[in-house]
Subunit: 395 residues, 2 copies
């Protein structure tokens, strides 16, 4: 292939660590706490079947034809209406999953070397989506309430190095499961407005709260100050790839042009099918059933951790929603190195180091409690604790 | 919005000319020859209905779940098998329409300022898809058989300015409708191999031939020398957004990583639905019906042009397949300026200037013969000729 000169950025595109790990964990019998796969029990297959038939019967030609890059109007209206601040459908751009939202925002906001602030740790897929633009990614220190405003101020930079964008996942963050509280949200939004840095608020899990609804989104507090990403992946089905961006009207046209260049539009059929499923309050009935199920599984994981990790120097988060929980293992454990031993014992996780922009904490790992059943969770957490004890004993 | 600093590339993202024109042409009663919309009569709605039901019944959970970025294995196998050269399914990457293929190839192949060779004129959507990477786009002279090898050699450049990639649409090109003949294909492929420039072969219309099958693809002649883009948009339905890239094995991993970062994967449900529709030779029965229909419409347009433009100094292409035909109007006509007068007479087209990397020929226009019926085509071409005559008479 000596005739091919690739773009410089291609050398920074590396296989996803999670992806490579998931390949290892495809052995039969393993209980994977690694992936972020919603439980297929939550997929409303019958509702999709009726919707597919109805859409093809009543609107077959349009659902199979090229369509506007903005997205299907009734779906944009539904989204604008259900968001808890004043949003016009003109501000809603339908994307091919909210992952595409990250790609489009990177394209219009980031030059090579532009400073991008992220939480510590942060969502790996966002780091990958932004990497083609080769930004300077700077992690901001975070505690259990989210990003720390004082460190944000230290990292924001000045002049040409002033941060272009800050990426935040306030609800049940991937990977840590933590949630920004109301006070912290307000402090961060106000500080960003003073500093003049727009935010990108990513909220794929917001509806999956188990105890009480989280505080209002950042974007609701300053709609002109940032961009908001939402998704149907966690409340309906990820395999349809349906997400959206909400943008200030002055920014929207650039995102729209990036969208059009990227894939013309999100599949018309999928947009209509989802609009058909949700139109009569379906989500108000459906989402509580998902919450109830995942809450039990979260509780099962917390109980299993209490039981099986007793006596070990281990900390974990207690997420009030979402899909993930974050663990810090005892001194002497490197979760990358320990993974093969865990897979031997039929349990898989994602090592935490993949989620850091720099200076990873090698003792951390991410566990998902949504894919495995309560019983499987207990078995897997016991296997994980056994792995940790065996690893420590060998030292 | 004074807090927002956008990426430099955002200033080069402009609304699609075609898109803006199509908005103007949405007035009732207009016959649009502008868009590249396949006739909805060709959409196999019943087949999709059965397939949707079957997929949701037999494979509901998987069809709605996250999936591998490479695409659905049976679909990749089908594609590899039906291509007329030796392709492994491992070389096939499913994309969200072939437009996404352009975005991904741009990401891995083009740096800012990289030289990109294109035909004169070329597909506007490709120019848009590559524009985020800010390449130096250089048009190569072309005649009725396609790109001229001698001019290709003149434009290829040396050293850091040597072309990274050449973008070619050999079959029934968008916008001109022209087809590279066998001799020209062989000459261009050999010249590119000597020059050491990889090609990107875009073939969305290849199955839509009306007289005889076109010559073998460029990629079939040198599979290690380029990338190939294909699509289901023109033979099944564009609204499902299903395309694919075929890449040499050494290049594939970079495209895969770009795909994963862009939208994780193409919708699982759509891939399974299409795989279900096509699995038993459906396309062998279905595509000939599309060919027969579009051939009649092409013939109608050619006949209408002969009739209504008689006596005017007008040239047009005689496409042997695809969806478009290219016209050069008489001296004194600027097709951008004439468009409002044409819309007044209830006919719309796309001015040709949008399709040039530089130095547009303002006398040109693109007409589509696939969306309008034979009768509508006759009415529209008469209206267009009337517009031209009226415009010339005013001068």
């Amino acid at each position: 292939m000596n005739n091919w000169t690739l773009a410089k950025r291609a050398s920074t595109m590396n296989p996803s660590v999670i992806r490579e790990i998931l390949k290892v964990t495809e052995k039969p019998g393993i209980i994977s706490l690694a992936g972020g796969l919603p439980s297929p029990k939550t997929f409303p297959i019958e509702a999709f079947k009726s919707a597919a038939n109805k859409v093809l019967l009543q609107d077959g030609a349009s659902s199979l034809q090229y369509a506007a890059s903005e997205g299907y109007a009734p779906l944009r209206e539904f989204i604008a209406q259900q968001l808890p601040w004043d949003v016009s459908p003109d501000q809603v751009l339908i994307t091919t999953g909210s992952q595409q939202g990250l790609d489009l925002v990177g394209k219009i906001m980031l030059d090579e070397g532009s400073r991008l602030l992220v939480e510590t740790p942060t969502y790996l897929g966002a780091l990958q989506a932004f990497s083609p633009q080769q930004p300077e990614v700077v992690g901001v220190d975070s505690d259990e309430h989210g990003m720390i405003p004082a460190d944000l101020e230290r990292k924001v930079g000045t002049g040409a190095q002033k941060a272009r964008l800050i990426y935040l996942l306030p609800n049940f963050q991937n990977p840590t499961g933590r949630t920004m509280d109301d006070v912290r949200r307000q402090a961060v939004v106000e500080r960003l407005a003073q500093l003049g840095v727009p935010f990108l608020e990513d909220n794929p899990y917001g509806d999956l709260w188990y105890d009480e609804e989280p505080a209002a989104p950042l974007t609701a507090r300053n709609p002109e100050g940032g961009l908001y990403l939402g998704s149907f992946s966690k409340v309906l089905a990820p395999g349809l790839r349906l997400g959206y961006i909400v943008a200030p009207k002055a920014i929207y046209p650039k995102l729209l042009q990036a969208k059009q260049a990227a894939d013309l539009h999100t599949p018309s059929f999928n947009q209509r099918m989802v609009a058909e499923v949700i139109k009569d309050g379906f989500l108000d009935r459906h989402v509580p059933t998902i919450r109830a199920m995942y809450k039990k599984q979260r509780n099962a994981m917390l109980a299993a951790l209490e039981q099986h990790f007793a006596g070990l120097d281990v900390q974990w988060t207690r997420p009030i929603g979402g899909m993930f929980l974050w663990i810090r293992m005892p001194q002497g454990i490197d979760t990358v190195k320990m993974l093969p031993a865990a897979v031997e014992r039929n349990v898989a996780y994602v090592p935490g180091s993949a989620f850091y922009a720099a200076n990873p904490d090698h003792r951390t790992m991410r566990l998902s409690y949504v894919t495995a059943s309560e019983e499987q969770i207990h078995i897997a957490i016991k296997a994980l604790a056994d792995t940790v004890r065996a690893t420590l004993a060998q030292q």
